[in-house]
Symmetry: C2
Subunit: 189 residues, 2 copies
Amino acid sequence: MARWQPDAPGRLAAAALDLFEEHGYESTTVIEIAERAGLTKSTFFRYFPDKREVLFDKGTVTGLLVEGIASAPPTAEPLDAMADALDALGRTFFTADRREFSGRRQAVLNANTELREREALKRIDLTASMIEALNRRGVPALTARVAAQLGALVWEIAYDQWIDTDNREGFGPLARDALAEVRAAGALR
Amino acid sequence: MARWQPDAPGRLAAAALDLFEEHGYESTTVIEIAERAGLTKSTFFRYFPDKREVLFDKGTVTGLLVEGIASAPPTAEPLDAMADALDALGRTFFTADRREFSGRRQAVLNANTELREREALKRIDLTASMIEALNRRGVPALTARVAAQLGALVWEIAYDQWIDTDNREGFGPLARDALAEVRAAGALR
């Protein structure tokens, strides 16, 4: 067994992204990813069940969002709790040093149906986690579902803007702006 | 080449569903599905690119929804256009005779990650088609995205209720009720 390596999952993800860009997702093997990262195949499988999973973080984003929703002031409306959570995510995870990697990662995901499928299911699971977190705040079931759907849309808008190569704004402020716009647009009859 | 068969895709889907229930999705082969349907493997591949696709209809639902949105009265608000579209879908596709199959199909999808992933991506693509259809009605980009997200939620709620074995109501009326509830719950601050 390989000895423990600091941030092995991060190195594996970076190596995978390089290789996917160079040779395509399909043509890259787990062994090549592990070698590029200076690790072994068995180390890869200690962190990821398969090649498809290497560009997805294992629950960190979900955890941060759920925590952010839970720790919003008790009187906060559902969408305000969501805004707090997105803000926390911008401060602790979607930080400036992760922006370039995130943009490259998204381009690789968008170009491959297998990866798009995995991402689509992750988003559904993330939305489900947000709904549960809102329910635990006492938000009624249907209101929580509506708020989580709108929160997911806000996320999507802010994320696309954030990874844009011309952007220099932080994820948190972009999410705040997107939420305000979604709110205004959501005044539908 | 096998001679043309009436509703071959429908027979293949029904055969596949039987086999997935009997032996599981993983253990069933395309050849077995074709044989059970009284067709050949090459006929299967004329209709579906792979086994994963056999339980998904090829754009009928998307087409009906897009058509329904397009043909709503010009003055209809986005969510009303969406309601018309869901109603049309209930009249022409999610009809009573399709309910039992739809419920069994959903149970098989829910039990398998590969199928859940495919379904998740189909839903994203469906939402994108609804957004485009709303844009073509002159609905502003962000309003269309909000309306399509809420429409997708209405669909999900109505569909889950419709396939419930105890349900005897039609998809259209269930969608109308769900929309009214989502609207009320969506009065978020």
